[in-house]
């Protein structure tokens, strides 16, 4: 189906979907922690806006509730919690170095193409106007994953995680007009609890390694462990 067959509201959904994808890219490119939290909040707001528009176009009233829930949770509450934590941990101005930013962006573009390829058979089955966005939602999930892989900062990893959740929610909205309400509430509850636990973890990690660079969480690595033990053995012998 070509874009010219859509109504103006449906076109607006596509525009917002594209902006959601852009926000994922900007999350990947942000190096300052506070800006990535802001970008995440924007993404949440965009997803909520898209949901409300889908609710309007498809005349699905329960989606308005989902949209409100997303707006409250993903655009306001969670960013606010993260923001407060970051200020409290005094890392708001911290800049994280991303290794090979251009390569990451290229990888991200490849992931988008990949999700398009995977989502094609799914999209063919759908009759909804929003079906073309399924690939977008999948790319948001994959880009969130990429962000978690490429970042070393605990807070940005959490932002990546939450952005994945955004993608999953968006997928449900555009492919099936949302999941049953009970499931959506359950997922929202899980996400909220996860945020709180993440918050607790930031302090625990900081306490244990005096930074939030999770690369330094390496006591349990399979290879390092044996190496460390071997070193200790050598040290013991030399004494």
């Amino acid at each position: 189906m070509n874009i010219t067959h859509f109504t103006l509201q449906e076109q607006a959904i596509l525009i917002i979907a594209a902006l959601v994808l852009f926000s994922s890219f900007s999350l990947l490119a942000q190096t300052r922690i506070i800006s990535s939290i802001h970008a995440f909040a924007w993404q949440g707001a965009l997803v909520a806006a898209a949901t409300a528009l889908v609710a309007f176009v498809a005349n699905q009233h329960h989606l308005y509730i989902s949209a409100l829930l997303t707006l409250a949770l993903k655009a306001i509450l969670i960013p606010w919690i993260l923001h407060r934590l970051v200020v409290k941990l005094e890392i708001a101005r911290e800049v994280e170095t991303v290794v090979h930013p251009a390569l990451v962006m290229l990888g991200a573009a490849v992931l988008v193409a990949f999700s398009y390829y995977v989502a094609l058979p799914v999209e063919k089955l759908s009759l909804l106007a929003t079906r073309n966005t399924i690939a977008i939602s999948m790319s948001v999930v994959l880009l969130g994953m990429l962000m978690m892989v490429t970042r070393r900062q605990a807070v940005t990893q959490v932002v990546g995680f939450m952005s994945m959740e955004n993608g999953l929610f968006f997928a449900a909205v555009v492919s099936t007009h949302g999941m049953p309400m009970v499931v959506e509430l359950g997922v929202a509850f899980d996400v909220l609890v996860a945020t709180v636990i993440f918050g607790v973890f930031f302090f625990q990690i900081r306490e244990s390694i005096e930074s939030l660079d999770v690369d330094r969480l390496n006591r349990l690595a399979e290879t390092d462990e044996s190496a460390a033990v071997a070193e200790a053995d050598v040290a013991g012998e030399s004494e």
């Binding site: 070509n2 525009i15 073309n132 977008i136």
Partner: protein
């Protein structure tokens, strides 16, 4: 489709080109006026660029002893290729005979030719600044060109033609459609245009501060009418990008028939659109600081990314399954 043997059409095309070339300094003057107003300075008249050009044309050019023939020829080559580029871009009417060569790839080629001679001229005299400016200019353009081409390909994939006139026809006939790909391509193009025309935040058109210069560094050795031609070509280039952006992305109002009313409407709308674009540019330039030179690649990478996203969202969202 245009009638290539219609003398009236050719006449109009000629007039349009003359108008294009004549209006370019006015656009620059208008932008300067806006910026001065925004920055609470007393503005010079928008006609000031004309006065500068006239003054420069009246002066004798001084040429360095080490300059070769390239140095002397470059202003003419740069100016004439830029004028030819301007000639093929639909300004107020779309179906003119020149539309046949109004191909975007040709345009990019013309602009590259002008830039090539500009860079050659910059290096010709052998001063440090010229070489530095040339190398910087080529760096920027080598990064900007892929982004620009990508943005253009996004457009041409939708319109299914690389011809600007066809693309504008397509846009006009399909009516108002919110296309995610055009949104991205437009932003990408804006960023490329800013970089290529040497505006803030990539280059500062008003500075002669040696370390940050790009465009100014290359034409530092020029004077008199040579300098006038170079300046005029730069002003034309800004106008070319502006017209391309407003007429391709928002073509409404452009004359499709060659009646006086339609042409007049086309003229008025293109003026309004360009003035509005100038406001955007002036506000952006006032709000932003010039970025350090080695951050310019990041800026152009963003442009490329936007254009790439435009392409992807065209394929994913607009064609779809």
């Amino acid at each position: 489709m245009a009638d290539y043997l219609n003398p009236q059409g050719w006449l109009l095309a000629l007039l349009q080109t003359l108008l294009f070339v004549a209006a370019a300094p006015l656009l620059v003057g208008w932008i300067r006026l806006l910026k001065a107003t925004l920055q609470n300075r007393r503005a010079a008249s928008p006609l000031q660029p004309y006065r500068d050009l006239i003054k420069l044309f009246g002066k004798e050019p001084v040429v360095a002893d080490t300059a070769s023939v390239i140095f002397r020829a470059a202003p003419y080559v740069v100016f004439s290729t830029t004028v030819v580029t301007a000639a093929v871009i639909p300004l107020i009417a779309v179906n003119l005979p020149t539309a046949a060569i109004a191909d975007v790839i040709v345009l990019v080629g013309f602009l590259a030719l002008a830039r090539f001679f500009l860079a050659l001229a910059g290096m010709d005299v052998g001063t440090a600044f010229g070489g530095m400016g040339a190398s910087r200019e080529m760096t920027i353009s080598s990064l900007g060109e892929p982004a620009m081409l990508m943005a253009i390909f996004t457009l041409t994939m939708t319109a299914q033609s690389t011809n600007i006139a066809h693309a504008i026809d397509f846009m006009l006939s399909s009516g108002f459609v919110l296309r995610p790909s055009f949104m991205f391509a437009l932003f990408g193009m804006l960023l490329v245009a800013v970089a290529e025309t040497g505006r803030i935040p990539v280059d500062n058109p008003t500075t002669h501060l040696e370390l940050t210069m790009l465009h100014e560094a290359m034409i530092l050795e020029y004077s008199g009418r040579h300098l006038a031609l170079m300046e005029w070509a730069a002003q034309l280039k800004l106008m070319i990008y502006g017209v391309l952006i407003v007429n391709v992305f928002l073509p409404w109002g452009i004359a499709t028939r060659l009646t006086p009313q339609a042409l007049l409407l086309g003229l008025v709308t293109v003026l309004v659109k360009l003035m509005a674009l100038a406001v955007v540019l002036a506000v952006a330039e006032t709000g932003l600081a010039k970025m350090r030179l080695f951050r310019a690649p990041e800026f152009l990478n963003l442009a490329f990314l936007l254009a790439l996203l435009g392409m992807l969202s065209h394929v994913i969202l607009e064609v779809g399954a």
